[in-house]
């Protein structure tokens, strides 16, 4: 058990004993993870936020049912997945991606860098907000089964086994879906990355703008 886990176990014990204010501290490191889990399934930022709040409230009410042999974060993610799925069932729009709700972007104006070799300077690539926006849309447009695996593995850093458990699939299914998700994203984003190259030399060793 790592230090973080034992710290959480202690917090959970104290919260169960009545120090409910400590619940804030307990969940604070997991807010992003829970929100992104809900967003991966629901698509809408507003609904994902509401589902994330509901997840935390359910976690508080059911804290006693948490078993310390699992990780607290994985337990929270499972609650978030259940919450999001039950909302999807209720709204009967499971397969409809609400992309409209994602038009609100963050961070303002940005001057794109003219990169000569993006492979060697990812930090500069990262500074381009339109690239991040392109990645957001590409992830949002992944079919749900791939998006949920990608979200848990690559955004939230759950390992293969934790992801498999949370989603109720085998480790092999996780690996296959993750591979496909990454390749779909790569395919979607490479043309976008190419536009930032210098005309000197392209991704595959040829001039792009000749």
């Amino acid at each position: 058990m790592c230090a973080q886990d034992s710290h959480e176990i202690r917090l959970i014990e104290r919260i169960s004993a009545g120090e409910r204010e400590l619940f804030h501290e307990l969940v604070r490191p997991h807010e992003r993870k829970i929100y992104l889990t809900a967003l991966a399934l629901l698509g809408s930022e507003a609904e994902a936020e509401d589902a994330a709040q509901e997840t935390m409230i359910k976690a508080f009410r059911n804290l006693r049912s948490f078993r310390s042999e699992s990780k607290f974060s994985t337990w929270l993610v499972s609650i978030a997945l259940n919450e999001a799925r039950s909302r999807l069932r209720k709204s009967k729009r499971a397969q409809i991606e609400s992309l409209d709700a994602e038009t609100e972007s963050y961070e303002g104006d940005f001057t794109p860098a003219m990169l000569t070799d993006w492979r060697e300077i990812p930090s500069e690539t990262l500074e381009r907000s339109e690239l991040r926006a392109a990645l957001q849309s590409a992830v949002a447009e992944l079919p749900t089964i791939y998006r949920e695996v990608f979200t848990l593995r690559d955004l939230e850093d759950l390992n293969v086994e934790e992801t498999a458990r949370a989603l109720g699939v085998t480790a092999n299914v996780v690996k296959v879906r993750l591979h496909r998700a990454r390749m779909m994203l790569q395919k979607r984003l490479v043309p976008f990355l190419k536009t930032s190259f210098s005309p000197r030399r392209g991704l595959f060793g040829r001039a792009l703008w000749s």
Binding site: E31, Q53, M56, Y106, L126, R132, L135, K175, H179, M183
Partner: protein, 87 residues
Amino acid sequence: MELNCKHVWQYISEYIDGSVDPQLRLQIERHLENCEVCSAILDSTRNILYLTADDRTFALPIGFSERLHARLEREFATIGGAEPSDR
């Protein structure tokens, strides 16, 4: 055994995660040394993952944390005793 490009692509994801066995890893690395196409695919995929892991790419909405903790406070306030209970 010589790996061809398509073969390498199948293992890109597991290669990145370090979950291919050492022998296959060596074969992939040998291929990558001589194949610019596969190296570029590997690099671009890695960069996408690097971008994904950046907190700014998938950020929380502004004010998310404040609203969450305010809602939790309201939840606590509805519970009279020290124990979480059904309402």
